[in-house]
Symmetry: C2
Subunit: 660 residues, 2 copies
Amino acid sequence: MEHNNNNNIILHSHCVEVAMEEVHHVVAPPHKSTFQKLKARLKETFFPDDPLRQFKGQPLKTKFVLGAQYFFPILQWGPNYTFQLFKSDLIAGLTIASLAIPQGISYAKLANLPPIVGLYSSFVPPLVYAVLGSSRDLAVGPVSIASLVLGSMLRQEVSPTTDPLLFLQLAFTSTFFAGLFQASLGILRLGFIIDFLSKAILIGFMAGAAIIVSLQQLKSLLGITHFTKQMGLVPVMTSVFHNVHEWSWQTILMGICFLMLLLLARHISIRKPKLFWVSAGAPLVSVIISTILVFAFKGQNHGISVIGKLQEGINPPSWNMLRFHGSHLGLVIKTGIITGILSLTEGIAVGRTFAALRNYKVDGNKEMMAIGFMNVVGSFTSCYVTTGAFSRSAVNNNAGAKSAVSNVVMSVTVMVTLLFLMPLFQYTPNVVLGAIIVTAVIGLIDIPAACLIWRIDKFDFIVMLTAFFGVIFISVQQGLALAVGLSTFKILLQITRPKTVMLGKIPGTDIYRNLHQYKEAVRVPGFLILSIEAPINFANITYLNERTLRWIEDEEDNKKEYSSLQFVILEMSAVSAIDTSGISLFRDLKAALEKKGIELVLVNPLAEVIEKLKRVDEANEFIPAQNLFLTVGEAVASLSTAMKNQSTIPEGAHTIMPHY
Amino acid sequence: MEHNNNNNIILHSHCVEVAMEEVHHVVAPPHKSTFQKLKARLKETFFPDDPLRQFKGQPLKTKFVLGAQYFFPILQWGPNYTFQLFKSDLIAGLTIASLAIPQGISYAKLANLPPIVGLYSSFVPPLVYAVLGSSRDLAVGPVSIASLVLGSMLRQEVSPTTDPLLFLQLAFTSTFFAGLFQASLGILRLGFIIDFLSKAILIGFMAGAAIIVSLQQLKSLLGITHFTKQMGLVPVMTSVFHNVHEWSWQTILMGICFLMLLLLARHISIRKPKLFWVSAGAPLVSVIISTILVFAFKGQNHGISVIGKLQEGINPPSWNMLRFHGSHLGLVIKTGIITGILSLTEGIAVGRTFAALRNYKVDGNKEMMAIGFMNVVGSFTSCYVTTGAFSRSAVNNNAGAKSAVSNVVMSVTVMVTLLFLMPLFQYTPNVVLGAIIVTAVIGLIDIPAACLIWRIDKFDFIVMLTAFFGVIFISVQQGLALAVGLSTFKILLQITRPKTVMLGKIPGTDIYRNLHQYKEAVRVPGFLILSIEAPINFANITYLNERTLRWIEDEEDNKKEYSSLQFVILEMSAVSAIDTSGISLFRDLKAALEKKGIELVLVNPLAEVIEKLKRVDEANEFIPAQNLFLTVGEAVASLSTAMKNQSTIPEGAHTIMPHY
């Protein structure tokens, strides 16, 4: 290319000179057929982790082994399992079993189910997960939030006290649908749906749920017998103070003592993580002590309600209890989907957290299949919705679990309990179970995280508050839906009102940056350089058109002393996509600018944009090739020369370069 | 800054040298309070056109005048109105009146309303618009799509034949709500909601609506008396062939003749735009000829149905007919909102099209208020939903309209018709009205635009087809909802699966671009340079995390022959926004990379991103300042030096610069 020796232009940067020697052209990406593009797009959408990569170029037998290992991770770690590892897993398994037994009974009561269902749910699902799951730290069992939601949603239509069998049937059917939904998300690789429960939503939601759950415990903590069936803050508090005459001082005293004990244990374990077993063992110790106390003082005769006789024996089959017909089917499916999403979110988050900590990988979609299948099997064997629980997995990890075998140990321990130890729980007071639940859910309220969100992003904070107050005052599912809707609306608003930023040249360089952010940057007279920071599509072309024209009008109003505007440069590095409406924006802008005698210049249109532009504009009609540049620097340098060489402009009327 | 004289580095570009002399720092934008940011954000969201700009710095009196002119544009153009302009407007007004009268009668029938309501609707609303509207070309009156939707939605609950009074009341009430909704969108500056009806949706929807409308005309074109009340393709065709015995050959013959005549007239005007009056006058001519024919041959006795006696006189008041209570309120509000959106979309699009053609400005939100107020007034004066119609405005413009006075002329002509000429329409055959409607809606089917969409964007094409088939086979509102949902889903998918692109250096420059798009670009050994092309938020952090790690793994797998990876550079020019979850992505990535001994480097984080990063990371903990650069070129140059100077790396183990 010819070296441009125009000495009239004062160049302050080597870069500009280099750029002018050779102006680089914007090119379209190599041609791809619609089918190829579709394939690439589908792959990025559904297989971003490229799970088949390891199969490539392997012999058939290896492929088969790898495939089996993919679906049954136990085949991967099983053969290398040693006695050394087992010793660690045995200790961890016994530790989480001591937590799982009282929690299982408590959470089942939270879901309005017979306490024994909570133990059933801590027996079968962990075994299934041990075979299918890929996390080494996940401790499986019922969790507080899913229990709460399951219980409260089903109670809208069926009373657990007047029709316990139907309620149980609906609970198992919901569990089946939850599992089906979870497994489908995994199989269809739609796992990204749970991403829409953002961190802000989860923090607000979990805090709200913790309060709702704690409020429900007022029934057992105060010994009230007539309690509201609603979940909201207002009806529960009304019910509590309406039934003051039912309060039992013996129950309250016992509740306060054990709550203090459990909170103290929790506090110790938080302060000294090495003493994790204090809080892990506290619930079981509380259950044992309180049971002995009640038995010794005949507490059940002094207003302290107890669990009562529990049936011995392991899980009876329950596939004959699933109801796929009748008037409650809609509710059951809805309950299944919501508890499914909630428990999945918890399980996946726990899995990912510990995998990152211990530097191994958890495949989200595979985990969804594992958790889903576990719940389907669970629904056949008298279990309700289970997942990997935050608190229990943390204990598992602290206790030194090395693999899913700790789940097997826990499962066997629960089995032994189910077979032989059930009579021991007959005198366990409900108040202690309430205290165990309150202690467990208090950890869900994360004030520091809420403060951090306030500091980083005010809108996220509002989303968090929406989830929190929505759950407390409206309902769990509506509070969540509101928060998800609000955060999706924010994304759409970002697209509908994309930022347009005026760029200036950073003196002594070829770099053009936001004038507002980089105070040293200066305008180049005759040019208006705008950066568009979003994909251009139907939702924002009207705005972009109006906004760009307003930039130009502002320019014309204010900058009379400068040279008049000759070029509008649109820096397109951030325009990642464009649609048919987007293309028309350029046509409209070009027409509007032509009437003002201004040229439209595009800089660095990305692959998709330049491809579509070229496809419409085969004759280079509205964006000619000489108005396309690779960098703003090259565009300004090249166009300044053109400006200077224009004989129509009177000499000296325009200062071409800024006078810095 | 110290000049770096390290001669080991082979530099091929002056730019790199320049860059290395002085590395430019990423800075955060100047501090703004939350309130200031909120204010700026709200302004961009709701006042992108800055309507108060002209008021700035004006004396109070001028402000008052400008304010009055803002709300009543007639005050702006009225004082300068001349007799010369009036002559043009008179001709244009008479031309559109000749179109408006037969169309008004036809569209009212399409909406299952008495024909005279169509004429009422061409009398009052144009007068209101003349005072409030800012478009000079909009010709106001009832339109086909809104008529169709209004009629079909209300017919779901009330039959226009068995209970015509209630039906009329609901139509006026729907019109009231349509106007209220339109004006609210304008007042609340939420006009961007109509942008969600993208061009692709409108093309598909209008073609579908044209077919639905034409199918409805088979009733009058074939002379069937027992016709289905459903709108879909299947029920209508079933009804048509089920009632073959009702077909009237006289009606069919007349229908075919006038349809041919009208289509011919349309064809002529399309071919020679100067002969626009041929198609503009054809409907009135057809009405006159057919009425005379029927009157002369007593066609009403030969199976040709006629309009029948029409009441004389101008619009009676109808505010006493609005029903804000009762069981149909929900339907009426829904109908109002949907017809309101549809008619607004048409009116705004027409206004913008002609404003762009004739180089004046139409304020979308102001137009919404004008159209909304026009419909509210209309609902008080026996009019149903009106807006600026595509076809009529085109005729208006072609006929030389200079201002809204052409609407006044049309309005007066319609008034004269209402007062004195109504008996003349007694013998007008319905079949001609059907032919007029079919001819009018055929223009809504835009095949070339559909082909263009296919060429530009396959996904938009699918959206278009969804709208088209949804309208034909399901229903107007559900078809639209499906298409809007699908195109919104596409936007969300773009955010959920943002593009990540690997950049390479364009030889001889300092420019880094997409390796796939620019074939000459080359990799820099030791660096992985990725560009993230979307805002980072809760919906995509999981994907971005996985995808980035996969890029790195691919790197480790394939590039063994190159030097090992030392830096991952994330080019952030396209990351326009970030939320709390987004911040955690960097923390997670940094941790994952550290385990592999790779450093994470950010290039050109934009204002919002750097601000939030700094707010969380006050101690420069996870992105230290030395890992922030303004351009990829500077980052690579600076880090290459660092790499070379590291004594821990054995000499010669790494080729620092590529060997091109």
